[in-house]
Symmetry: C2
């Protein structure tokens, strides 16, 4: 259908959709940067979605049972901002639209979670939205199973572009969603056949229908500019028994006489002349940012469409038992279970006495066995390394199509998809996700782990096999730079606990975090319990603390983390035997130590002593503690890794790479 026919056939729809297009053109032009083509292309689909299908109430952006709408093609942010403004979200004023892409605006270049109500997740890095949505869909199924369909019954809608579908992470998301039969997930594919480098076919000839169907999805298609056809497809999609791909055939920059259907409309303003020409095509006779009152009123009616449904929902929520309703509210609002602290303290008391010699991955499993029964909103999982990561406790079962109460996710060999799904599980509300893989494969999950940090999603990454201590699997599996990577990433707590007690304390912090993801770097190899004297205080919360004080005059401070703390303690024994007073500082979390006041930091790392840090990883993050705060290179040394690891039994590797008590002693003596 050409534009004239569309206008004639669907005049009401046309006005509504054109308001989106006009705002997108104007805001990008005013910002002198941005992506107008996608909003112009998908305005019809979005209009039909918001007008007829999406369950939402613009006056209650955080309504727990709302449908979630994810703009996976985040560069088309003006589509979302226009919808939020037009439907009447309080924060999405016209004044705010005019600040698009400017300092301090809620309307950033790409949608940023936490900046603007109605933005369900941060998108922009391609493929993240669709993968995060899978986690949201799982969370919905889980919450529904736990609280009932009367209070949890909604859909997750995604708009994804060709870029999202070409990224590898999308395959991980598609595979997981297909296996899990997530019939609450509907992906609207903006099939405009344009990427930045040209036609999609310049780099891909994939038949997306066949690809999605191969992984257990239903596939529908529609003319993405014909509202009746779109409505038919969306109506059908909601009835599916599996996840659905809706192929929306669109034209990027729809209506632009000189730029439509080309890359030139993707990522740059149209320019005043082309905007004027496009307005003429649209029959839109209003000035920049001008939305006629009656069109705004129609949009606001759409924004209020869900109010009655929300009221009914609130009545149903009120009909739950008070305890169940309170628990629902707590989980949706991400309150920390009051039972967590007591469970951790009891665990620490028992284990400081029992003093087991276990790998910290095993210690983590023991902690989870104490935590999972009293924190019902945890959902665990692993990227197909359950028996290695030790992430599944005996009290939780697999989340599966026939067992939605299950709290354990078989993510498959999909680290990136797992991390993105964890973001979605948390963002949906009602779930605290943790998930495991080998620490080295942080590399595969980085894209989504960074978004955890950027969004402030306190996901817990259970990263086992955290050093050369994993032994024979060799350098491809041995992290050396990954502690530095996690520590360099803003708003990330990198924990490397030294024993079962520190592991418990790290878990307590990770599960209490409000805005910060945690990485638990855990050993494969057994480690002794070092904290055999019980303290109720969470020492890991300090980031670093004196584990063993110097006997006699303090000449040396050894700092270490994780499996190297034991080695540092042995070095201390050797040094003390020669009457060299040596303090050992355990530093399980540099970020938390850096957050302490200077007095505390100075108490732990006073000036004057020789400092040696010990960690089976690269030195980069240690320079601050070795050289800064009154250290100096003359009196500071590092015992760790200078390059990649190797394949051999762990003990041999520690010896060959010189991470031994004897090597530490030699380093100290050279510095003294």
């Amino acid at each position: 259908m050409d534009i004239a026919s569309l206008r004639a056939a669907h005049p009401d729809h046309w006005k509504l959709a054109t308001a989106i297009r006009a705002l997108a053109m104007d805001a990008v032009q005013a910002a002198n940067s941005g992506h107008p083509g996608m909003p112009m292309g998908m305005a019809d689909v979005a209009t039909v979605l918001y007008r007829n299908h999406l369950k939402f109430d613009a006056s209650a952006p955080n309504w727990a049972d709302r449908d979630r709408f994810i703009l996976s093609a985040g560069h088309g942010s003006m589509l979302l901002y226009a919808l939020l403004h037009l439907t009447g979200y309080a924060q999405a004023t016209l004044a705010e639209v005019k600040t698009f892409r400017q300092w301090g605006s809620r309307m950033a270049g790409h949608p940023e979670y936490g900046h603007l109500e109605g933005v369900e997740t941060t998108t922009g890095p391609l493929g993240q939205g669709i993968s995060t949505a899978v986690g949201m869909a799982i969370a919905e199924k889980s919450m529904k199973a736990r609280f009932g369909a009367k209070v949890v019954d909604h859909k997750i809608w995604v708009i994804a572009g060709d870029g999202c579908l070409m990224e590898g992470i999308s395959q991980e998301a598609i595979g997981l969603a297909g296996k899990q039969e997530l019939d609450n997930l509907i992906v609207l594919w903006d099939n405009n056949n344009i990427t930045i480098d040209g036609r999609v076919t310049v780099s891909d000839i994939t038949d997306q229908h066949a690809r999605f169907a191969a992984s257990g999805w239903d596939v529908l298609a529609c003319d993405g500019h014909d509202p009746a056809d779109i409505d038919r497809a969306l109506t059908e999609a909601k009835k599916a028994k599996r996840p659905v791909l809706v192929d929306c055939k669109t034209i990027i920059g729809f209506g632009s006489p000189n730029k439509a259907d080309s890359y030139s409309v993707h990522g740059a303003p149209l320019g005043d002349a082309e905007i004027a020409a496009t307005r003429a095509v649209y029959g839109w006779e209003h000035g920049p940012f001008e939305i006629p009152a009656e069109i705004k009123a129609e949009w606001e009616a759409i924004g209020a469409r869900g109010a009655a449904e929300r009221a009914e929902w609130e009545a149903r929520l009120a009909a739950l038992s008070p305890a169940k309703a309170a628990e629902f509210e707590r989980q949706m609002s991400r309150g920390v279970s009051k039972k967590l602290g007591a469970a951790i303290r009891a665990f620490k008391k028992a284990n400081s006495e029992a003093a087991p010699k276990v790998a910290t991955r095993k210690a983590s499993e023991m902690v989870l066995a104490a935590v999972n029964p009293v924190v019902p909103e945890t959902m665990g999982g692993s990227a197909d390394l359950t028996g290695s990561n030790l992430t599944k406790t005996s009290d939780i079962s697999d989340f599966m199509p026939d067992n939605r109460k299950g709290r354990y996710l078989r993510y498959g060999i999909r680290e990136h998809g797992m991390a993105a799904a964890m973001n979605g599980l948390y963002l949906h509300g009602g779930v605290r996700p943790y998930g495991g893989t080998f620490f080295c494969f942080t590399d595969y999950a980085r894209g989504a782990m960074r978004l955890s940090a950027l969004m402030g999603v306190p996901a817990v990454y259970v990263m086992t096999h955290d050093s050369i201590g994993l032994g024979e699997d060799g350098p491809t599996h041995q992290p050396v730079e990954h502690l530095a990577i996690c520590r360099a990433t803003p708003n990330t707590w990198t924990f490397r606990p030294a024993d079962v007690i520190e592991t418990a304390e790290a878990w307590e912090l990770a599960l209490s975090a409000e805005k910060t993801p945690s990485v638990l770097a855990l050993s494969r190899q057994n480690l002794p319990t070092l904290r055999t004297k019980h303290t109720a205080t969470n020492m890991v919360a300090k980031g670093a603390y004196v584990l063993e004080e110097a006997a006699g005059k303090r000449q040396v401070i050894l700092m270490a983390t994780g499996s190297e703390v034991e080695i540092a303690l042995k070095a201390r024994d050797l040094l003390q035997a020669e009457a060299i007073g040596t303090r050992v500082v355990s530093m399980p979390c540099m970020e938390l130590f850096a957050a302490q006041d200077e007095a505390y930091r100075r108490k732990i790392l006073p000036p004057g002593a020789v400092r040696v840090a010990v960690e089976a990883a690269v030195r980069q993050p240690w320079d601050r503690w070795l050289l800064g705060e009154r250290g100096s290179e003359k009196k500071a040394g590092f015992v760790g890794m200078e390059g990649f690891g190797a394949s051999a039994p762990a003990e041999r590797l520690y010896a060959e790479f010189g991470i031994t008590p004897e090597a530490i002693v030699a380093k100290v003596k050279a510095l003294l």
Copy 2:
């Protein structure tokens, strides 16, 4: 077919395949770690491949026109090691097999490139092998187009498991290979339906036939234990006009009476009793590591099968013109073009005079325009950001099915697949790959970039939009921790050039590197030419150097990289105006600076002065230069980023985040 029938029907094959299985069982048992199940399951396929199809000559592991064999399921390394030993590769002695997974062995836990001839690439991180193979297949096509099918005409064979196919990177590889119609690529899928967490169906229900077909592959299938059926499928695969997936239905741990077809045989030794029971099933009456002479002889005959073909090939190579043959040898042996140095010097001379004000991404394009014509083995590309990364020069055309002489790859929106393909392009020989994306999306490519470093593959990563300087796209697109990430990674040169001259010098080093990948972090925004006085010397090779000396007594040293060098110079002007003598050090490559001798480092960063580093990124890598080597926190400061960026015009971001000449001056004065 059951084992008895197979033995009876194919006695010769059975003996050969059983030798592989026995060695795998014995070596894993002796190492007390490893993965026997996969070699036992794929021994029949591998035997047929080596016996009847693979073009190779065990006496010439580096024969340029050999078929490449990639064990993407790298945990099954004993399959490859057994094949190399049995067929007679000189380095793969039985004594070496007995060192499997021990310190110093050529036979590491996972196949490590450079340790053992016959290992074409490092595998282990799942999905890398199949994706690297795509690059090799492209290199073969490119070399064939440039040198002719008489000297380049071979196949790339891959064994991949369910794990490889579930990783997202595999979709990127499959999509790229399908688009490029790589009929020289044959993937043998070890379809054993087992992952670490159980049956594949616990996490995936994907119909792989449909999935591969959707992206333009041919799909064949065979009984992976029936040599006749395997041979039929492989024969057919070689005739295909598109890349081929061969579904080899196998049983993991084939023959093990108690462990076959289960996870228990995947990643642990079978144990002496089970090995004995399995030997009985096999009818293999020989002791551990014992291969009867006649079976070894049969295998060695297979290893020598290609000798005649190689001799014919050598005759064809000798029939080329001497110049063409020499160029072929140079490119295959990765010699650096003698014209590179002169081209860079001429470029530097011209541009130090012209002194253009251009973004370093633009400078990079200008360098490439000078380099590509004289270095014919470069192949460029971008993950769908060609116009932003500026990686395509006008003299090179797109590599496409109908244009195999093209030297530019449209990788699509596939950063991880691109990086892996770049590894393959180089490992094949004959190609020096460079490829671009936004620096922030290093996150997506990390898995393969780490393998570049681990393998010593000097790929060049052209990473543009390297800081908040990209402006409005916001924090999802603004790297802050990525310089730290690259610098923390062993064997990686991280270049952040400050102007067009440093960009040229960085490119010269990157393209001359023998064993080290390079990351070029390049600005989106324009930067002035700072090195307006021509020097033939490559100053970037020093890692850091004095760009502007202090006037008068040196009180301050400012260090900076990239776009912040200009800011540091402006701060120097302000300081010098107040008679505060200030040196400015440009530090385009910390790794190369660290590699200088102490005298040089001390000359550049002498003690005594206040030091301030300026970089629009996190501080972590700077502590070494701020605090170490005679610095101290009392006299050192950092002007940079403490957290994520934001969406706004670049100038505003620099002002808001306090990365300005004025902020530097204030920091200096506070320290003085």
